[in-house]
């Protein structure tokens, strides 16, 4: 019966080609325009670690006091922490896992003389980083706590970096040189591009993850400065040791906490630390610290720009207009076939059968509409990649999920548009039509 219904739908599709073309075009345009905006919105608002995002907490410690940010009780603490506070968190070891980290950059070369040195972005972090953020490995693994303690010269490469340096082969055990210091490769990641780059949203929220990862402890010991965001509320003084004891904020700290009770305890710990700081005269304001899980952090950062949200809403409005047009066209087409529908009723088709056939007709229109919508979505995203800002450029891509969504949206939208016309058509009184033909 399915094949027969499809055959009938195809015949119906070919009838009144101008009306059919308008319907398909309306669906295609509506889906294309809305999916272009929705895909950008979806990519920006997606939670890249949804399965544990409620257990990962970004630590914000107010180190500068009321003068530093906005006013009142709702004043947010600074977005990053100083080295001293990062170490305070790491030494306390109160979370199930905890990491402090910062962005670095190195000139990188290998033993292969044919490989021209490149500048690679990196992340100096702790061993827990990989397990905490479920980072997938293609070869090898991350380092362990002993490597942190021992300031080992080990490195984990991203898939792209490994492709550049070792043509994608298993490079575990090989040597790479970071600013001419030899590091042993101990792991290579599978493609890992969390969007947004939730673990560091201090700038370039939708940038690529780093190309290499190395122990934070080694980086600090070797006085490696940050390649990321750095803010100071006072002159840190000369030299790296002075920088480390300054209140300059340049590091990110995350803790993994399994329960609300642990979260409450952890916040108490941060606040008690601030109180002690106040007692000792290091700060002169009340504790004002935060623990934000991944979604809260994304919300606070405003990871989805307002214009992207507005564009998504407007595009849905446009889709609605297209649907209303499609519904009108479908109704016109259905009513133009009244005599045929009347005949089918006379020959024994029930309303249910005609309704099902109508939905099959709509499914065929939706499929062709989806094809056009898919092409338009691809073209729209291509245009956004060329014209949008850096964040939009990074996410404006047509992935398999987006293609599936195009298909689903086209199908859903068309079926929705088809409901009324199909229902009306199934109600056509056969007797009124048969004599008139």
């Amino acid at each position: 019966m399915f094949a027969y219904q499809l055959k009938m739908a195809w015949l119906n599709f070919k009838r009144a080609p101008a009306l059919t073309a308008l319907m398909v075009l309306a669906i295609g345009l509506g889906v294309g325009a809305s999916m272009t905006s929705l895909q950008v919105f979806r990519a920006m608002s997606g939670n890249p670690i949804s399965w544990k995002s409620d257990r990962l907490f970004y630590v914000q410690i107010d180190e500068w006091g009321p003068g530093a940010g906005g006013g009142g009780q709702e004043r947010e603490p600074q977005e990053q922490v100083s080295y001293s506070n990062a170490q305070m968190v790491m030494n306390a070891k109160l979370g199930k896992r905890q990491v402090a980290m910062y962005q670095v950059a190195f000139a990188v070369k290998t033993d292969d003389d044919a490989f021209k040195p490149i500048t690679a972005s990196g992340r100096a972090t702790y061993a827990d980083f990989f397990a905490m953020f479920d980072v997938p490995f293609a070869y090898g693994a991350g380092w362990n706590a002993a490597a942190d303690e021992g300031r080992k010269q080990v490195v984990v490469l991203s898939d792209k970096a490994n492709e550049k340096m070792f043509a994608g082969a298993d490079s575990v055990g090989k040597t790479v040189y970071l600013d001419q210091k030899a590091f042993r490769v101990i792991g290579v990641l599978k493609p890992w591009r969390p969007r947004p780059r939730f673990y560091d949203m201090t700038n370039a929220n939708f940038g690529d993850a780093e190309q290499l990862y190395l122990p934070y402890t080694w980086a600090i010991d070797n006085q490696i400065g940050t390649n990321g965001n750095n803010n100071c509320n006072a002159d840190p003084g000369e030299g790296y040791p002075a920088y480390l004891v300054s209140t300059c904020i340049w590091q990110q700290v995350w803790v993994e906490l399994d329960s609300p009770a642990e979260q409450a305890r952890y916040l108490d710990f941060l606040n008690n630390h601030s109180l002690e700081q106040k007692k000792s005269g290091k700060i002169d304001f009340e504790p004002n610290n935060r623990l934000y899980n991944v979604e809260q952090r994304m919300e606070k950062v405003g990871v989805v720009p307002r214009d992207v949200k507005v564009s998504a809403i407007l595009s849905l409005g446009f889709l609605l207009v297209c649907l209303i047009n499609t519904a009108g066209l479908m109704l016109a087409k259905a009513l133009s076939r009244s005599s045929e529908i009347g005949l089918k009723r006379a020959l024994g088709a029930s309303r249910t059968m005609l309704f099902r056939q109508g939905l099959m007709d709509a499914t065929l229109v939706a499929s062709v509409g989806a094809l056009i919508g898919g092409v338009l979505t691809w073209a729209g995203l291509l245009a956004m990649r060329r014209l949008g800002d850096a964040d939009v450029q990074a996410v404006a891509q047509l992935d398999p999920v987006a293609l599936l969504l195009v298909l689903l949206l086209a199908l859903l939208a068309t079926l929705l548009a088809a409901l009324y016309p199909t229902w009306r058509a199934s109600l056509i009184a056969p007797a009124a039509q048969l004599k008139s033909n």
């Binding site: 045929e340 009723r345 020959l347 024994g348 088709a349 029930s350 309303r351 249910t352 009184a429 004599k435």
Partner: protein, 228 residues
């Protein structure tokens, strides 16, 4: 076989009520060939529509093949129509972009009949009306008479107990009309009950009984031939 008793059918608009059938009573026996005549607007077609379960009625009773059809829902009426009634229309009502095979196939599809059985019935029905070699032709490739034959094949394919024909020769010239009429007589001789609405007194006389309808009522019944 078909029994209507004091049946009323009223068409209503916001301002007007039209009594298309009033206290309409008629009994048709199995194997009869009945011609229904009457002036335009007398209620002939309404009677045919009610008889064919295409329209409901307000009052009275209607038994089709012993079954009270008054309280059947849409699915039940559709099934009954599909299994027991064949329709022949003045304007043939073939679907232009379906081949003759697919046109005849329609009612069998609605009955969810198996492929082999459908194939057999379609071939037989088209052969019976002399179109066995034209199964893949489209309606536009046929003459009016041939199109009406194809429509008759469609009506016959489901082996209905009744054939309801509304002016089946109204769009045909006299020669083609004669051919269609002979075909209907042949079908009736094989046992199918036929009720035919016509304006043509000559055609009406070829039926076994002539039911004359006036103002929505049976005004006169003339019996020409005893049903076999």
């Amino acid at each position: 076989m078909l029994k209507m008793q004091a049946l009323s059918k009223i068409y209503r608009t916001h301002q007007i009520e039209t009594h298309a059938l009033r206290e309409f009573s008629l009994e048709v026996k199995e194997g009869e060939f009945i011609a229904v005549t009457g002036p335009s607007g007398s209620g002939k077609t309404t009677f045919l529509n009610v008889a064919g379960l295409l329209e409901e009625f307000e009052k009275g009773s209607y038994f089709l093949d012993g079954q009270d059809v008054r309280n059947l829902n849409d699915n039940q009426r559709s099934r009954l129509r599909n299994e027991k009634i064949g329709f022949i229309f003045q304007s043939f009502n073939l679907i232009p972009d379906l081949s003759l095979f697919d046109n005849v196939d329609l009612p069998l599809r609605y009955r969810r009949m198996g492929s082999a059985e459908r194939q057999k019935r379609i071939t037989e029905a088209l052969s019976r009306v002399g179109l066995g070699s034209r199964t893949q032709h489209y309606p536009s490739e046929l003459s009016g008479g041939q199109q009406q034959r194809a429509a008759i094949a469609r009506a016959l394919a489901g082996s209905p107990r009744f054939l309801l024909a509304d002016e089946p020769t109204g769009n045909l010239d006299s020669q083609m009309a004669r051919g269609v009429m002979e075909l209907l007589e042949e079908i009736n001789a094989a046992g199918t009950t036929i009720i035919m609405v016509t304006h043509d007194p000559d055609l009406a006389r070829r039926a076994q009984r002539n039911v004359h309808v006036l103002d929505g009522q049976v005004s006169e019944q003339l019996k020409f031939v005893e049903a076999a």
